[in-house]
Every structure is written in structure tokens, then in C-alpha cells.
Symmetry: C2
Subunit: 226 residues, 2 copies
Amino acid sequence: MTTSPSVIIFDVNETLSDMSPMGARFGEVGVPAELAQLWFATLLRDGFALTASGDNGSFAGIGADALRRLLTGREVNRPLDVAVEHVMGGLAGLGVHPDVPEGVRALAAAGFRLITLSNGSAQIAEKLFREAGIRGAFESLLSVEDAPAWKPARAAYEYAAAASGVDPSGMLLVAVHPWDIHGAARAGLRTAWLNRTGGSYPGYFEAPEFTVTAMTELPTALAATH
Amino acid sequence: MTTSPSVIIFDVNETLSDMSPMGARFGEVGVPAELAQLWFATLLRDGFALTASGDNGSFAGIGADALRRLLTGREVNRPLDVAVEHVMGGLAGLGVHPDVPEGVRALAAAGFRLITLSNGSAQIAEKLFREAGIRGAFESLLSVEDAPAWKPARAAYEYAAAASGVDPSGMLLVAVHPWDIHGAARAGLRTAWLNRTGGSYPGYFEAPEFTVTAMTELPTALAATH
């Protein structure tokens, strides 16, 4: 590939936001912090099941409902409703990863158009970026709530391409989640896997074109393709 | 509804097979038994992601690959390859739930045609039912490996309907997983949720027509619709 994409499209949850404080929220209601992982996998499992059967679920709605069932029968230190509200409240209070502000500003300065596309709400993204002082770097914050389907369905990426007025091949998706990389690649986008944790990439998903360990590496990686 | 379905289609993993020994396999390789839940949620999450993006993954392939990443960085008591093989080997050694043989035989005796449809392989189901002495109760054991897509995509249920020569509306899906109930309902099948654990049903999935707590209750529940 010898040309750069014109639009960079970022995933939000975990890719830009640091979700590690969610573990502490589980701990605060009296259950193991590790349950955060099971909760998030369950949320996505059920959201993707809805996607696979042609529906478009609510990220926050599935999250709260799945959380309630996960906490039922466990020893929580407050009424169940209050525990669910406390953990879910954590989603609105997250910050961005330390590498995000510098990386995003450098990409904007390099002339790329930047957008986000989340399976969650655009409001959460708006608050996240405003508080991190990087809202101005993004041209638009998109949510699958306005698309026909969640990522990784093709229709989600096509919605973002149409909203940006570019062909999918002119877009680069940046995500920490291999399933997002896979869906974007299948939809004809270029892809960059942000591997902050040194994990290995699943063999069953389409491999990324670029792999970086921090957002700040992405401008250089893209420049090398010129 | 005043007519009975003519074909009953059973999910296999967890619905007929008892997957609880998988927790012991995790314990045997030196990690907490509770990881089995995260592993299975991850397997389905990624399988459904492939489904949502138009692909048809391998259940065992995703299971082993996801397991390897889950165990990486944890203290396992044997080489990683051996640990993965030990846990995955558990899938082939499962038995059926205690309520299954009697329930399945009663449904067959009541004149229903019985089939299975698994996101896993038909070989695993074949071995499971042969060892439980109930293979003869089933007309056919289907796998999404031969369908266009995994459950809960509509195409999976339509494949089973076509293979059985009936309209989807003449079939009843029986499953413990709400995502399976949802997909089947969306595809026009009738549904029975097998709720062995007393859990609550997610509000974001299509509700089942029947709910039973053991397979042995299903013949009576269906007879009541005549």
C-alpha cells in the first residue's frame, strides 16, 4: 500500500478510554475485580448475538441487565439496584489512556481527518474527549445507535464511511479489539491494531495491516507507508 | 397457539451436555475453575463476532485459540500447549445432564421428531448421545459447520428447517441460552427455554414461549398446548 488513508476512525471503549477503573467498581460493591472481564465479555457476546440475528441493541441497556444477572446470587454489600447503578456509573467516569492525547493530536496535526465509531453512546465519547481536552481533534463522534447494526457488522463501518463522505478503502480503523479489526477489514477498511498489553492476535480473525503498542507510534507507522 | 410443533430442535452445549466438568479441567491445570465461564463467554463473543461480519468460524478452533490467550501469563502447572490440550480434551468427555435421557425419550415417545443443531461439531454430539444411550432418539445431528452461519443467525435455523423438510414455524427450539431462543424466535421458530439454574431471562432478548426447569417437564408443557 503506498497511499495513506484520509480518515482515521477510532474505536472508543478500551481503545481510547481506559476501562481498568471498572474493576475497582466491582471491588467497591464487594465482588472480585476480575468479574469486570466476564461482564464485558458477556455484554459483547450478547450484543453480537443481537447483531448476528439482525437486531441493534443498547450498549448501556445490555450492560446493566447482564450486570444485574452477574451480581445476582453473589454477596454484594448494598442493594442490587444500587450495586448495578454504582458499577454502571463507572462507565461515565472513565478517562483516556495516557498515550491518547499526544497520539491523537499528532495524527490531527499530520492532516488526517479523525472520527470515532462506538458501540456505546456518542454522549459518553463526547464527555470523555471534552474532559481530556481533545474533543477539538475529532471531526465527528459516531455511534452505532444511528447505524443499522453494531460493529463488527459491515453495515456499521459503511455507515461511518457514508457519514464521512469517503470510500471504506480510504479509512483506517484503530482498535484494541481484534473483532473490530476483523470486521473493518471485511468491510474494506484498512486497520491498525493497538496492542498495549503485549497480547497475541487471534488466528481466526483477519490480521491487522499495522500493529502499534501506543497511539503515539501511529503517526510514524503511517508516515512509513508514503 | 393450538398446534404442536412437529420437530423439536435441541441446542447441544450446556443444553444437553453438562459443561460443569470444564471448570475442574481449569483447576487441574492450576488456574481458578471460574475461568471456565470467561473462556466460554469469550469463545461465543468471538464466534458471534465472526458471524456478525459474515464468517463461519470453527468452534473448537476458536475455543483452543482463545484458551491459549486466556492462559498466557497465568501460572499453569504444565507447558502451555499441554494445558490447552488438557482443557480442550474435556469437551469430548462430557456427559448429558441427568434430566436429559428421560426427557428426550418421553418426547420421542410422544411422537415428536427430534434433531440437534450445535455451533460445535456433530462428532461431539454423536459421541455424547451414544454414550448416554439416547442416540436412537434423534433423527439427525446437525452442525452449523454445514450451515451458512452460526446460531443465532437466521440462516442457521433455516438450514435446520430445510434439512428437516419443515417450515420454521413447525419447529420448536429448546436451549438454555437466551441468545439461542432469541435467534430462533427471530427466524420464526417456536421456543422453549430450559432454565435449570433459576436464572432470570435478559430483557433485551425475545422471550421464550415455554419455560421449563428440566427436560422432563417439556412433554407436559407441550401437551398443554393441544
